[in-house]
Amino acid sequence: MSLRGEMNKVLSTTYKNWTISKRNAFTLFELIFWPLVSLLSIGLLTRFLETDQETVSFLMVGAIGLTIMQVCQIDIAYVLLFDMWSKSIKNTFVSPVRGYHLVLGALLFGMVRGTIVFAILVISSKMAFGFEFLAGGTWMVALFLVGIYLVSAFIGMVVCISILLFGQKADVAAWTLSGLIMLLCGIYYPVDVLPSSLQMVARMIPLTYFLEYYRSAYGFGSHHILVGFGLALFYVGLGLIVFEMAIHRARRSGILLRLSE
């Protein structure tokens, strides 16, 4: 198979997600409405509590990071969710695509959507609450986004793996996982306020490090961005291997057929 052929296997998912999304009015809610509602709620809360500008920035980083991650991870999960909902999962797995083709293709689309959401949110937060998103420079923003996308890829893969292991019931994982992450990674508070056992769990999730990295530009302590990237790459690699194993298992268990009926 040529490189172009491999690329098109990857892009098949990008194409499907794009074509479905452009026809779905709910996409506008995913990209604009919910992200803005979330950002404005947090921003208005800071007004009510009369917090200083640093605290506003702290919370804005959390709100923006969480929203981008939610948008991007659902795009990865859509790889199987769209197929599962339309009962057409057989068509995907009878073809010669591998797990990494599907994940990469969806990640590409998720990154585009995530970047659009990021742009909307930083512009809105600057206009409404004076948040200077470029305080740490362009590179910091780029690394923060790359980190978030890697975390999203992993979470999206966990959803896909759950679908292949547990079938229809698992689609609830698509929405609950990011909720758990929100609790543990210090989206709206520093992880130091968590009980020590939960702090240990938080330190195993790369998003914690990416948030600390971005927040360090606003005077909130030090960061360990390399640990974050190390963990993120490890989880993505692990996710790809387990995803492939889950596909293999699904071919044994017959769940691919059950999801197509």
């Binding site: 296997k9 057409s88 009878v94 293999h248 017959g254 197509s260």
Partner: protein, 307 residues
């Protein structure tokens, strides 16, 4: 070269304590270029077998060579040269016919002019041009079935699996679908393996047929040899007025089965001079209104095998 060589294929589902064996030691060899049919009642394992051949399912046991490739070791390479179309097939609802074909082609790594040509050819073969911009959710069942067949042609497969291709279609569309399957086989030289429980379909399309029952192949041959070897005799329908000695009817030499209801006798009879003359004598006491003699069809074979 054989398109499929299956040796001792077994498959079961469920946990160890509640396991259901769906396929039991399937042995099969299908030649390249053949249209081969797998027949059987619901739950006989047809779809499971087809899913194993198309690599959607892995067998628990057995060896499977498809188009010279080991279906376990070389599954990825194999998927490049096979494809499947199922009756009641589904696609993402909001994608149009053309978009669904494009996405399917991309899954096979097709790109550029080759992808465009494959989409055009598949739409041409399946008469889908008028529907190219119609969303899947707005298509009739017949057109959905044609889209499924078109999708199955997108990678120019050497082996095509059709899982109950006409189930749920009205007779007119089923006839059209069958003629399209013949066209695909004739024009593209593709080996076709189809499952059906519609006997005339198998008889019309297939060179050879395997009957599956409770996960085992109970008969495998050409339709004509299956009919001959089972000694099913001929089907004789007689419409008559009057009464007939039923005991004597059953005693006619070569009589396989007989039923009489409201002036109509339905008989299965092995042809012989003695049998025919005894039958004529029996009915000479009645007023015979109509006689029909027919070769048995696959339905009769199926009923005989399923007994």
């Amino acid at each position: 070269m054989a398109a499929i060589i299956a040796r001792d294929i077994c498959k079961g589902f469920g946990s160890r304590s509640r396991r259901t064996e769906v396929l039991r030691s399937i042995n099969l060899e299908i030649a390249e270029g053949e249209i081969f049919g797998i027949l059987g009642p619901n739950g006989s394992g047809k779809t499971t077998l087809l899913s194993i051949f198309s690599t959607l399912l892995r067998p628990d046991k057995g060896e499977l060579m498809i188009l010279g490739l080991d279906a376990k070791r070389d599954a990825s390479r194999l998927r490049e040269i096979i494809n499947i179309s199922s009756g009641a097939s589904n696609f993402p609802w909001s994608l149009t016919v053309k978009e669904n074909l494009r996405q399917s082609g991309m899954l096979y790594g097709l790109h550029g002019p080759r992808l465009a040509r494959s989409i055009d050819e598949a739409m041409e073969t399946m008469d889908l041009w008028p529907y190219r911009d119609v969303r899947f959710e707005n298509l009739s069942s017949g057109i959905k079935q044609r889209l499924s067949l078109a999708k199955a042609l997108i990678n120019h497969p050497r082996l095509l699996f059709l899982d109950e291709p006409t189930t749920g279609l009205d007779p007119q569309i089923a006839i059209k679908t069958r003629s399209m399957v013949k066209k695909i086989h004739r024009d593209h030289g593709i080996t076709v393996l189809l499952t059906t429980h519609y006997m005339p379909e198998a008889e019309e399309l297939c060179l050879r047929i395997a009957f599956l029952r409770k996960g085992s192949i109970i008969a495998l041959d050409t339709p004509s040899r299956l009919k001959r070897d089972l000694h099913l005799g001929e089907r004789v329908s007689i419409r008559f007025r009057g009464s007939i000695d039923e005991e004597a009817l059953f005693a006619v030499p070569g009589m396989i089965s007989a039923s009489i209801e409201e002036g109509r006798a339905e008989l299965m009879l092995e042809r012989s001079e003695e049998g025919t003359s005894r039958l004529m004598r029996l009915f000479s006491h009645t007023e015979v209104l109509d006689i029909k003699m027919e070769e048995p069809d696959l339905e009769d074979v199926f009923l005989e095998l399923a007994r």
